[in-house]
Symmetry: D2
Subunit: 482 residues, 4 copies
């Protein structure tokens, strides 16, 4: 009946979070800019959102479960006065969707107050948490960033500055993370030494912005400066922008390739490459690898639309629409009961009968993860009169769980692990099925100025992955450790 369930019936990998930070030097309305920033990052997390502001060293924070426009109103934003801010939108893969786990986390430590907005996943959080607790620590949330905050606080005692404490934290806390942190006088941003998640720096007049994605810079009229580098800690204070970098950081980021496949907004530029152009290139590549004689190319809204444009372009086949999506579906609604589902209640997507009837169609989607929805929509296309349905997937088969911030906890739920491609084709009822190859992916992403993590396709993880992460019962194979 709620959003949670709505998410469950989707066949998409979910990104954990989006982060945003602002350091004002121009008298902007910091809370409102952060609000618009989070609005632009809403696709990265719909479960909770929050804004913390620093008003001359007094911190105010408002956060709750729900979507950005539902959580904030004029009165609340008016009360969030300040000159530095951090903001967060959250999709919860760990820790449960309750109010305590909403971010930013605001903590008092020995040097005052800190507010943390965090995107990622730690692989040694449980061990660290246990270790802290053995020394008497108490935790009020079940989420990783509280562990990280604890370590930062401990490191701060041993060093002279908060940015140094953040850098030292990287020695202990392992995993993938991009974070924005607000201290009494600074705005800090950091990416893990592998640079798995994006974080970019922007400038609005004389003020600085940090954001998970650059699309937000366009929303608020800011200019893109550069990406934060792997293992880099940047901070803004009254003297401007500064930076230090962890000694073990990679030279080139190992960005999560799924940002290009699905997570990021098409109008973001990550590591030098336009997400839209990469997706279109995936479509081009896919058309080269899996051509087919057909009458119409379309994408599954919204995840397959960009690649479909590329496929159509490359193949010369007509581009069109195969589905109409209810544009109010972003919000919580009452789901059909099982009985109603059998009675064919379908609120989200309608097949565009007049478009597909009598045609041989190519349907593009970005990925098949659990495979729960493909069969349904292909059946609907056939019922609407499509003569042939050729499914094309703009990424390679999803074979390995992700430990770095998405909600794929085990191989058991992955369709491509359990079945061959031909078996999948039969199960989903397609007339043909083609995935983008790993080589094709490489070709399509050549505009990136970095390396990328494609462990979900290849099992080659950028760092050692412990067996007990996320309490996954899955047996870690040798292959995955290569």
């Amino acid at each position: 009946m709620n959003k949670q369930e709505s998410v469950m019936i989707s066949d998409k990998v979910h990104e954990e979070c989006g982060v945003f930070g602002f350091y004002d030097n121009d008298g902007f309305d910091v809370a409102r800019l952060t609000y618009y920033g989070l609005y632009g990052l809403q696709h990265r997390g719909q479960q909770s959102a929050g804004i913390a502001v620093n008003d001359d060293n007094t911190f105010h924070c408002h956060k709750d479960l729900g979507l950005v426009p539902d959580i904030f109103n004029d009165r609340i934003l008016n009360n969030l006065t300040g000159t530095i801010s951090v903001g967060h939108v959250r999709y919860s893969t760990k820790g449960g969707n309750n109010r305590e786990n909403a971010q930013p986390l605001v903590y008092q430590y020995v040097k005052g107050t800190l507010a943390l907005a965090y995107n990622g996943n730690l692989i040694n959080a449980s061990e660290l948490r246990e270790e802290f607790m053995k020394n008497g620590a108490i935790f009020h949330t079940s989420i990783d960033p509280e562990v990280m905050m604890y370590k930062i606080a401990q490191e701060r005692i041993k060093t002279h500055a908060i940015e140094r404490a953040v850098l030292n934290m990287m020695d202990f806390v392992h995993g993938a993370y991009s974070l924005v942190l607000m201290s009494p006088r600074k705005l800090i941003g950091a990416r893990d030494p592998y640079g798995l998640h994006p974080l970019s720096i922007g400038k609005l007049e004389n003020s600085y912005v940090l954001s998970s994605e650059t699309c937000v810079f366009d929303n608020i009229g800011a200019e893109f400066i550069r990406d934060v580098e792997p293992g880099e800690v940047v901070w803004v204070d009254k003297d401007g922008l500064h930076s230090i970098k962890h000694e073990k950081a990679l030279e080139r980021a190992r960005i999560c390739v799924f940002e290009y496949v699905y997570n990021a907004r098409p109008d973001s530029v990550i590591q030098g490459a336009s997400v839209y152009e990469v997706r279109k290139a995936m479509g081009h590549q896919l058309a080269k690898e899996h051509p087919v004689d057909a009458d119409l190319v379309f994408g599954v809204p919204d995840s397959g639309l960009c690649a479909a444009i590329g496929y159509a372009e490359e193949s010369g086949l007509p581009y069109g629409k195969g589905f109409i999506k209810n544009k109010y579906v972003g919000r919580t609604f009452i789901l059909p009961t099982q009985a109603q589902r059998e009675a064919a209640v379908n609120i989200k997507l309608n097949v565009l009968k007049s478009s597909v009837a009598g045609k041989r169609v190519v349907m593009i989607d970005d990925s098949i993860v659990r495979g729960t929805t493909c069969a349904n929509i292909i059946r609907a296309l056939k019922e609407a009169g499509a003569k042939e349905v050729h499914m094309r997937v703009s990424s390679p088969p999803y074979l390995w769980p992700c430990y770095f911030g998405t909600d794929i906890p085990s191989r058991d739920c992955l369709m491509a692990v359990k079945y061959s491609i031909e078996e999948i084709r039969q199960k989903i009822g397609a007339d043909s099925l083609g995935y983008l190859s790993v080589e094709g992916l490489k070709e399509a992403t050549k505009a990136l100025n970095c390396d990328y993590c494609q462990a979900c396709f290849t099992g080659k993880y950028p760092m050692e992955v412990p067996l007990n992460v996320n309490e996954v019962d899955y047996k870690h194979t040798e292959e995955g450790k290569k």
Copy 2:
């Protein structure tokens, strides 16, 4: 700060309402089906929504301001038990956006209770209201359907059945309307004698559905039966579906052409024609009438997307995206202050720089009404590096106010009335500008099984239009009366 303002900054014509009705013969959850029905009609009105159910002659109604998913929850739907229902979504052009004016209207009259959901606009409502009041009547809303309900109640005294009273009402109440009415034992649907607004009949197993648009039938798994005809009153009772028709009704409907241009969902079929296909045909026609040498064709989301596909197809130019729309924008959000707008806060649409930079682009939209947004988005395209912007509009210039249910109160607000096409081109900053011709529109709509009203383009109204309708100060010209 509210939806109202959000609507004001849009340059679109707004349809007044969507209606839905259900007569159960199979034990369906009537309230939930109505909920899904209204969800599928949400694009026709976002200001209020309501459902009334008839539980063995006891009527329950729940309605409020807001969107369908925000107004209803499980508990509320569970309380709405019954076997007949009517539902309504509303965009208010008259009567103010307050709770009293939400529909369905539920009234007691001499034969029990009636619930009315109504889409349209009456041209003699004020006169009728005044006449009733001179005889002592009292009105608790300021909206037209209360007047209609009053007349139906009065006619019911003189005749033997509610459907006959509805038919007789048509002799007195003039204008454009599609209505769904629930009496103690019947579900009734009717269209005005001109058939200006759509209303279709569907069937789900042995149960009957009435809906403003057919897309809803797909949502709930119902089968399309036929359109209600102009001046026809249909009703469903325990003996099935029945019909009578007004003697002065047109043979062929004079459907509002703007349903195809903008109002309806692309996956609806109205008067035999797929809205999507008509829009694509408009794009084809537009490409024939206004070709241009360019590198990219795209539509303004979402109103120009279908025609852009047609334009690209006809012209052979590459189809792509020019903008990315924030998909959470359907809901209420806090608007930027004027200062923030100047600072370029832009939450709704981002230009897709990588796509348009260095290119000559063709941008398609469905219409230019007030012209408030075109200049902004063309400027944004140029700032993003577009070399040329060729605007194409998939309908003729909007020149005449609509009296039949949209929010165009006077000619003063219409851009094409005040300026020549060349002047408009200069004002919006386009490198070229082309509108679909009235003849082209005719070609594009040839799949319709009826005539259409295009008075907004030609000033030729299907019925006599009084000068004082909607208290418009505009001087009715001879031309408009032809």
Copy 3:
């Protein structure tokens, strides 16, 4: 689980409503004064509340289910600008507790807009409603004042002024009512020709106030002027206060004696008599009629407190407390389940053990209606160690249903109809039981400047009472018609 149920478990007669009106000549914040007025009348109705204001002939109204402080907030009050107002609090005995039935009712009629706040009960409402409907009228509520409004509108056509229409209405509409009505330029107040319900006129600087009770005048600093007389219509316009009176109106009001017994606030003065002093006098009289040797006198909170003070004073017995009431009980709370009730969950009243243990106590209450709670609280006193419990009731046995605005639909629910006093004593477990006599009531109310209706004690109704009022199945006896 809701308020409704909470009401059901109470053994009190419920008054229907409280009304308030304000005509500003001094620049007061009319909506806020009305808000405070309704707050002071909250005891007269807790189911819905509303305020309508007249801002230079534009009417704004806000009303909802719930308590006054829950329905209104600063923003809402700020939007209710105007110079005339009417307000209403409601306890629903008829028409159901839904939002449509909340008052004030705002209607448009031939001369503009009217807003009505009404307290009372009509005995021929159904007949009138049916008659109107036979002529084609439609009703959107199931409550009496809509019928009254209709008649006023019809009379207005035949006469020259709204106040005259109100007066003429009295010829057709029978029952008990006090009303406040707002027209485009006037504030009108009226009482039925019997004067069964209270309505008083106050003055605040140069502005006028109408209120069901005078306690409100103290709340807002207004001065009491006089009561509206039976069958009188008063109105305030720019020329000040005016009055006309119905020719068949009683000279002296026949005020409902239950206002003194239970309904009104002790700090109100009705028809020249302080409610507090009358209640104390009832206690004095009761002590004279039913003396007893005891150690402690206390009242059942809050209904028996004033009479207990009088009883203690007259008898010379010590006054004290027997119960402590949870002072947060005014609001909705989750009721215990049956199982929990058996497990003795008691949220509302706690016996004050230290006070009653080992003592012979006199417990005073204002009335025994259904007798549902007496037995419980006497048992609780005994369990707490009270040696003897002598119950004294400060009004005569309640024997006849009320047709004029309380929720006593039939004799079947009245304990004193079914049982003798000795039987009642046994059933409630008291050691002795004494009611105030009809003569004693007369003595206690001698400060009133009018007659009173005590039909609930005597069956002598002030007007003819039809058998089918309120669809009561109770057989009207000859005795009741005398």
Copy 4:
């Protein structure tokens, strides 16, 4: 406009909190019983409330700002399944009224989860907090119990059981506190070694209850067992009730005397003495110390009512009412603006004119703290016609700030510090003024089975009070340290 302001205009000392705990052995609905328990403790804190339940070692917690009946509903209570619970109502003197600071606090520590509900004030919380933070600790609230929780967690590492950790905590954490703590398998209660705040043990069938006040036992049908002793830790587990006691604990509690003066409900029994009887005895004593010839005795509702009964009894003067209080005032309402206050808007209390006019009255209140309201109500009595107003206060002059859990931060705000009694009399406009003497207080409280802290009257604190507590700028005198 909010509750906060409403509190500010009151002249009462505010208690910090109420706590409740339940250990079920009978299959009770634990959450609902806790709900009723908190409802009965609502007078101890109206700013936030919360319930945590332990469902076989899974903890669920729901808490929010507001009153108990507004925070919880059926659905929420249904989700709070479990067999152990702790509950809390809060009035915030420290830490701000925000959601983070609501209790119970739920934390994970080395042995699982703990939930803490706490009533009191620590005098070395800042020092402890600082010390923890110097070792790298982070705090997510600004309230004392988080510090206490931290210390308990640290002690738990060094000892074998949670109850022992609580006992050891008492060596480090100084101040006044009563707490209820829930561990994975136990319900624990504790009072500080001085026993400054109350905490009692009750039994409901085979289940155990802990509560700040015994009135709650009556609400839920539980039987009072005994008070928790000073410095005692009690716990309930599957083997029943157990106890250990701190070696430095006082033999007899030093209970806060203000529980009897104002804080507690009259129907509670604390340390063997009925609060109601103690208050009445204060009235008796006051009548002996400050007799006066008068016509009427009444209390200021609700704080002076019990003592007024005692005063009237002792003096032989007639007892009555001087004011009527709006019984809906417990909830948040919109406060009058300054202008409206001048215009005499008075929503809370109305003088009962008919009762006081022409009389010499004795008005009893429990205390004069800041003296903000006395002058107003005495003026109102005079305006209503009272000939003489003799104010009697049922406690000694309030001279010293409280460090143990009330909101009296400094001497500066205390009227009796700044003015002599004669000056106070003049300032409030009374004809005479008498306070209960310290000796009289002793006489009135002789039923207590313990000593009491009356430092607010005498400056003799039970423990050393540091100068910087609560960041009070007040200079701590020698007198206060004696």
